[in-house]
Amino acid sequence: MAEKVDVWQGTLALMILKTLEALGPLHGYGIARRIEQTSGDLLAVNYGTLYPALLKLEQEGHIASEWGQSDNNRKAKYYKLTRAGRKFLGREERDWEQTTAILSRFLAPGKESA
């Protein structure tokens, strides 16, 4: 079994938003699967934690939800990115890239000092 890391809240929100941006409207189960796949099974979602995170994003107005039909004709709640959510995602992405860029410079100090 691959070593799996718990997904922490902030990153989870970012992943949800990114998933919705890439795939368009999607139900909770779909989002969970997608995140698990993209992270190469390294991040095993405790699927339950996804729903409070979705609720929080909805309360904050980043995503909206409505009931619809799934592929195999099952009733499911679909989430989609709102305009505010899109803007928020853009901002978060830039922040995240900046943070990782800085961190990577710290984590590979050899190049810097050479």
Partner: protein, 882 residues
Amino acid sequence: MKTLRAFWLRLAGTVHVEPRDTFAEELEGHLQMHTEDNIRKGMSAAEARREALMKLGGIEQTKELYHDRQTLPVLEVFMQDLRYGLRMLRKNPGFTAVAVLSLALGIGANTTIFTVVNAMDTVDSKTLVTQARAEKLGMSFQNFQDYRRDNTVFTDLAAFMPTAVTWSGGAEPRQLLSELVSANYFEVLGIRPARGRFFMPDEDTKPNGNDVAVLSYALWANRLGSDPGIIGKPLIFDARPYTVIGIAPRGFRGTITFFSCEQVWIPTSMKDQVLGGKAKDFFNDRRFLTVGTFGRLKPGVEMAAAEASLKTMATHLEAEFPKDNGGRSVALSPLADAAVGVNDHKRIALAGAMMMGVVGLVLLIACVNLANLLLAQGARRQKEISLRAALGAGRTRIVRQMLTESMLLSLAGGAVGLAIAYAGRSILWSFRPPFIEQSGIDLSLDSHVLLFTLGVAILTGFIFGLVPAVKASRPDLIETLNAGGRGGTIDWRRDPLRSLLVIGEMALALITLVGAGLFLHSMQNAQKIELGFESKNLLALNFDLGALHYEEGRGQQFYRAAIEKVKNSPGVASVSVASNPPIGGGFLRTVFPEGRDEASGYRGTLTTVNDIAPNYFETLRIPMVRGRPFNDGDRKETAVVAIASEAMVKQYWPNEDGLGKRFHFFGDPMLREIVGVAANSVVNEVGEEPQPIVFLPMAQDYVPAATLQVRTTGTPENVVATTRAALQSLDPNLAITKVFTIEQILSQALWAPRMGGILLALFGALALVLSAVGVYGVLSYSVNQQTREIGLRMALGAQRRDVMRLILGQGLRLTVSGLGLGILVALGLMRVLVSLLFDVRAYDPSTYTAITLLLTAVALLACYIPARRAMRVDPMVALRYD
């Protein structure tokens, strides 16, 4: 913004919880999709479902997480506590009623007194304004001008002089309080006009065109109907038109009165028009102490440093004008202290503090009652609490629950207390004497009062709920559950906390009552003080001939005619005229006994001067101790004579009888000979030390403003109309500025102490009742707890008498300990307080004895009822009780 939006949604979620079904449905969809996927991967149906559930992390757990996010958990717990608390309080209506009522009385009393204190304390005591004063009375206008010009510590220095003007042209002539002020007066105080403007900087110096006046808000509102068009219009003061330039802000009381009232401010440049008699002659005299002054300290200048700097100036002024300024210096004090006159402010502050102290103690007793009730309640609910603890409720959760209940009680108490205060305020207000009626004093329950009440309620609920809550949250689980929830026979001696509360309560009640008792005693003593004259059936009418511009000859003639005319009216026993109204203060001059004068370095002493017509002593019934009273033979052209009060003789010629002694006033070398000595009489206020007074014949020392004093045979009110008509028949333009009986003056002077006395008695009674309720509550709780023990004793042969003795003994032991403690504390406390009271010793044995007996009796009664119940315990029933 986002967070706020989320917060509101969650708040809405808490209040109105969405059905969880939608989420359940969503979750179910999720699980089914997952299961189907798993089956497609080749798992069995059961295995597929199980794997999906495992990945999810449990349906209930997820729902719980979701719910927490949907709502505000903290708030939700609070709402639960609240609902539960309300249910508990509803279930025990007796307990709730006693607790709420007890607190409501305590908080109500506090709020009522706070309302009064709050209304009194509107002087902006934080302004950096201080008053420079010399010899308590003020300083001369000349010195003021020097200080103002040369000082380095004030941004500016202002002066004021209280006087009075007659306003005619209204419905009837009225006398108004007025202040002659320097033009910078309002600017230094830092206040803005409600309407119009205040004085221009040169309006107290330029040669003419200064006949302008600022009106107080009360005058404008009460007498001029708040007419905004009054600005720029003339009003007639002392028969002279003044242009109204501005209205002072509402509630501004000037620098001399305690109450805001109908008054006017006029620039000092108008002194010749406003002042009469000697004040006018002496206004520019460097020795004559005319004006009060105050200044605003420059930023960064401390009061002590400023005082030192001014004292140096005073030394220079003394050296420069040794005759006038000999021995004089200055001192600084905050304006708030000086505003009322230093003594008055202290006394009012003392009365306020005293009242707050007493009601504070009453509240404390009420709080102890609350704590007691909560303790008993906690003990009764041990089973419930143990159950909750056994079911896993944390201690904080239980404490929070209990605190919610005590806060509910105290807030309810606060709300009812506010209603009590509202009623109390109305009652207090309906007893107000006329002089407060005109004052515009505002006894409203404003935001300060509401905040105060809320604060008190929250604090009492929290502080006095905490200990019982913590104690209740720590039940001995096993023991309580085993004892079947009856708490077993909790022994009195094993319950020190509750005993301590009773002891404390008795001690507090004793301190409150002793304080109230001593205060009442002091007031009684103050009322017994001799006035020195007969106050009954005495009428006084003030009028001012100066306002009519009479010269002396005409004035003297008017006085003689007035006395003659009124003397013959029906119902009049005798009549006189004097410059000073009874208990109305008077003009002060420096007296130099013969043989000592300014040149010899003797400083003289300020002495009250009263210019009187013949018959004065007879009319006021002031006995002559020696010599003779004045008579019609004392005239301008005859020997210059005077009569001294006993206190004056004692002051200047101790150990002599004073007759034949001569003296002169400062600035007036004429020697006056004492031909009579009169008994002491009150000058300024009831209860003062005997003041030196010198009486001069009006015929030899004319003053244009005077008081006609009429001794009537029946009630003085019946004579008012005829006397008034008699005076006005002599000159129809005469303004009778004030008509009053001395009884009125006395009841005014004694109103505040009397009101205070009634309130104190009321609060004392409240303390008594509350503490009795407390003792009763604890004892009956204890009897309840001991039912089994009592039953056992009786079954073993104890008599009812023994049971009675047992219970009374328990109550009395606590009562006596409480009273003993109370006496000790009271003795210490009252020693400090008594120095501020009038003629009472800290350990006035009668007060202590009476109150100790009273409290013992009340405590006995409070113990007797539960003891009787204990006595009636049927051993069989008690033992089978479980």
